[in-house]
Symmetry: C2
DNA sequence: AGATTGCTTTGCTCTGGATCAAGTTACTTT
DNA sequence: AAAGTAACTTGATCCAGAGCAAAGCAATCT
């Protein structure tokens, strides 16, 4: 019964230069000719479905992936199966950069909702980047950004409490949606409470309780996967640990 | 009274090709000629002293640094001064990769003990790397390694308990010392208990207590900064959460 | 030598979140 | 529609590790 009748992406001949993600994943300063060269090595595949693996830890590293639509989660499965979620990847975000060093995928990547990805053979990308300085530059920037982002996460896990972590998480999503032209205050979560907790180093129950509490305090509205951020300012205060946090006591 | 009479490194004309760190920081597959080119852009400075800043968060990013001798700690000072230690860098390790993206240093770097560093102007390195494919490749690998390492830290902070974290930390140092030709089981800590705790997301007191407990259990000997790992095997068990942990109960 | 300062250790108490244990609600499948 | 299953919520309890306070020790200064 694969009569899914999904929109086939095969016939969509949108080159990189026309891709709506250009400003997110492509180097600024590439000439149209350069973009065509890059475009030529990018493979566009049929959409993947929830639960599919983009790759698994231990797989040979061949390609860098860029999310076009949908969401992908990356995680370290752990010897004993005690999965650690490493990230949730939205359209325009790259996946697989941690595999360059060893040539073996260091984490696994799983589709959270119907997703289309671009696939870029790394060897070709690398060759191309040595002939196009601005592409090389962009690659360095992307890798560097990833490092910076991971460092932010280290601070989150090392220093922030549960409230601050969830607030940060929601604000991060909010900002990323906004940059993609979606509402920063009204969106759907494509990951489960369990996955959020895992990502933030919290138990599912804690995440659930915090959602309830944030809602009771008028910071947001949640219903299942649907979130509406009502008071972003106060969420930002919580994020930076601005004392008082939720349950703002009336300061006399 | 700058009559420090420190060993001047100015007259040490050790080129990269002769540097003992070659296998750690230089690309495999660079021809001797390539190494000379790289060598030409590397600046070698006089040693820095405990407490000196290599750079501060917010500084303009100009150079990548490589530790030659000594130890450097990187950290995010945090708005409110609630420092988060991001890493301890031993000889052969690179610093500053997270600044490429924005051109502004994302974290600060401080010297923990008298340290010599090589300074590589990034713009020159970047240019050079586009003419030497194997150098470019090595740069990608180094950046990727950093990402992989940060991801490992995320798992450490997100999933491991205090014992597992300290064991991991000690084993990481042990391995890195070994690769540099030093004893893997007998070394000095150049960072304080406070800094270790901060790095591992633990309170100083917890770190101190764990050292005591590990010692009581015959895993290691500590005296101030001096550590001797006595039972590395058991430390590895603890690291991977191999149940029983310390206080191995007699299993009848 | 004695005093000052800054780590580090140790004991005691407290708490944020984990864990355990039921429910509850929403999808799927039949 | 009923039944099953997976995700989520909520309540109750517990505990690893934080925080506080007070020594203990080294290293430096006077």
């Amino acid at each position: 019964m694969s009569e899914h009748k999904v929109i086939s992406f095969d016939n969509i001949k949108v080159a990189c230069r026309n891709c709506s993600l250009t400003s997110l994943c492509l180097p600024m300063g590439l000439t149209p000719e350069d973009v065509d060269l890059l475009d030529a090595i990018v493979k566009r595949n049929r959409p993947l479905h929830r639960g599919d693996h983009l790759f698994r830890q231990g797989d040979k590293f061949q390609c860098i992936y860029v999310v076009k639509t949908g969401t992908v989660k990356t995680f370290d499965p752990g010897e004993d199966g005690s999965e650690q979620v490493l990230g949730f990847h939205l359209p325009g975000e790259m996946i697989g950069l941690d595999a360059i060093e060893t040539g073996i995928h260091h984490c696994s990547a799983k589709i959270l909702e119907t997703t289309a990805v671009c696939e870029i053979p790394f060897t070709l990308l690398e060759e191309l980047s040595s002939t196009i300085p601005s592409l090389q530059h962009q690659m360095y920037r992307l890798l560097s950004r990833e490092i910076g982002h991971d460092e932010d996460m280290l601070t989150l896990l090392g220093k922030r409490n549960a409230e601050e972590r969830l607030a940060s998480f929601l604000l991060s999503l909010s900002g990323r949606f906004q940059r993609r032209g979606f509402s920063p205050s009204d969106f759907y979560l494509s990951m489960s409470r369990h996955e959020i907790g895992n990502y933030l180093g919290l138990a599912v129950e804690t995440v659930s309780r915090l959602f309830t509490r944030f809602q009771d305090d008028g910071l947001l509205k949640v219903e299942r996967k649907h979130v509406q951020l009502v008071d972003i300012e106060r969420l930002k205060q919580i994020q930076r640990g601005d004392q008082a946090g939720v349950r703002e006591q009336q300061v006399t």
